[in-house]
């Protein structure tokens, strides 16, 4: 894209400030008597941040508040330093909703072109940019067909294309990997990761936690309208250090290994599995070193050690249980 083209859609000064890309400050949202969000505060900085929560936890409410579709009942939401209800600030925003709704009789090319026109691109720029983006998303052959005839995965890619075609600074993606086949999913994950590396601030929500773990560096865990925890996966795991940690050991002689482990005071449980054993421990991360040492001492009794619950899903389960 040329500098002139970039200049034609430069956002207002508020959007270029050094403020966090997205800030929630003590935000609450009520629908009548129902509290959807309660005193939630967080900042989203450049990079990929995952928004984790069960259905009904408040993820969609956060997304709607962040893009200005809803107003907070209390507190303040800032997008690129300004209110997301301010049309100038929204110039910096790319949003992919979780709804599978489109202008069914319109072609993918026309749809993305229209959205770019509303972003302030001239007709020529919008057409060129739309074609280029749709090609990037693997829709080169289908872009002139009506969206109503697209497969679920193609529809999802068009939705992502309209959110990213104008190269927004802040990108909010609500369940963006839904309906994609494994190849497309891999491509989109790579693309999102690449955007994060290029300095875009991306907030991505999903209830499929391992999807998020693959793509996000930071996480926001919401549960029943409250922010339960935030940070990188290691930081989140540290928050539940007092909980037993599960470790799987692969061994050809599991009984011998189990006998040694039972002598260790921090081991609180041992269970045999198909290819080894699983231990429950209250020990810290230094335990891995000692287990490796035991394995080496016993002449290769332990073939593989890996944590069972050092993943987002397990952390989330612990925190919400």
């Amino acid at each position: 894209m040329t500098a002139a083209q970039d200049q034609s859609r430069t956002p207002p000064a508020a959007s270029d400030s050094d403020a966090a890309s997205l800030s929630f400050m003590s935000v609450s949202k009520w629908y009548g008597q129902i509290s959807a969000l309660s005193e939630v505060s967080f900042d989203v900085e450049p990079g990929v941040t995952g928004l984790v929560g069960q259905n009904g936890a408040g993820k969609s409410t956060i997304m709607k508040l962040a893009v200005g579709l809803s107003r907070p009942s209390q507190g303040e939401v800032l997008l690129s330093g300004g209110s997301p209800r301010d049309s100038g600030v929204r110039r910096t925003l790319g949003y992919c909703s979780d709804l599978d709704r489109y202008y069914e009789r319109v072609s993918g090319r026309r749809f993305v072109t229209w959205m770019l026109r509303l972003q302030g691109f001239s007709a020529g720029q919008a057409a060129a940019r739309a074609a280029e983006t749709l090609e990037e998303f693997g829709l080169a052959d289908a872009m002139d067909r009506a969206i109503g005839g697209y497969s679920k995965g193609m529809r999802q890619r068009v939705k992502l294309a309209q959110a990213l075609a104008h190269e927004p600074k802040v990108v909010l993606l609500d369940e963006p990997l839904t309906g994609l086949d494994p190849v497309a999913r891999h491509d989109i994950v790579e693309l999102i990761r690449g955007l994060g590396e290029r300095g875009k601030a991306i907030l991505i929500s999903s209830h499929v936690l391992h999807e998020l773990q693959d793509v996000a560096e930071q996480f926001l865990l919401v549960h029943q309208g409250r922010l339960l925890a935030e940070g990188g996966l290691d930081e989140l795991r540290e928050q539940i250090e007092d909980r037993p940690r599960k470790i799987a050991l692969r061994s050809r002689q599991p009984r011998a290994v189990a006998a040694r482990l039972c002598a260790m005071p921090e081991i609180i449980g041992v269970r045999f599995t198909d290819d080894g054993i699983q231990v429950e421990t209250k020990g810290g991360s230094d335990l891995f070193g000692r287990l490796t040492h035991i394995g080496a001492e016993a002449g290769g009794l332990i073939e593989e050690i890996h944590p069972v619950d050092d993943n987002l899903e397990a952390v989330f389960e612990y925190l919400t249980s």
Binding site: S87, M115, L118
Partner: protein, 273 residues
Amino acid sequence: MMWFRDSLEVARQSLMLQLSRRMILLGVIGVTVFGVLIGLMSWRAAPGVAGDNFLGSMIYFLLFQFVLPLVAVYMGVSAVNADIEDGTFTYLFVRPVRRTSLLFGKWLSAALLGWLWAALVIAVIWLAVAGPSRPWYEGRSPSPGVAIAFIGAAALATPAYAAVGAFFGAFFRRPLVFTMLFVVGWEVIISNTPPQAWVRGATVADPVRRWLMENLPQAGELREALGWSSLDFLDDPAKLGDPVWSVARFTLILLCLAVWVYTRREYDSRPRD
């Protein structure tokens, strides 16, 4: 300037979306069938009625009384409410475009499409009636002036009806019910209240009727044909003010109400399947 540019772009997109709907094709087929039927009726009626009176009566009773208000209000409703109903409004509301631009553009497209549709129907009726020569009463064939006056009246009425539709579409969850109530209830009752009640300005039908009386050729005879001679206010249009101003004021108020709702309401992005 930016606001106006955005509004025109929204109007263009909204127009293309509306034209892509099947309803438009059905509408064109309906109009054609309608034209053929009126053409047949005109052969039968011609010896007993002057051409202008027949043409004016057909256009007024068959189009202006119920069909045009229904179609134009529906177009306004559809332009504003269709994307709220199906959830596609989220694509628009997250763009750097003010909601006033979105609403104005949608209203503009509905008003334009409504007027084009009305002009097409009037042209079809005129062609059907004025086609091959018929034995009109005293040899008085229909003049194009009548059709042109009605096209002018449609240009006055459709933006107002589209504004009603825009307001209903923005405000109500079941806008089509209110469309029916407005067209067959409010418009009929209020536009026929005594002029002293000063409420006729809250309709579109009354000022359009008065405008037609001022601009139709042979208005006196046509007034008889349309049964308006008993409406005393028509003798003194000044009693209820300038009809163009009256419609403009009505349209502006409805548009302001629609904007007020559209810019403040938090629409639910969960479509009701």
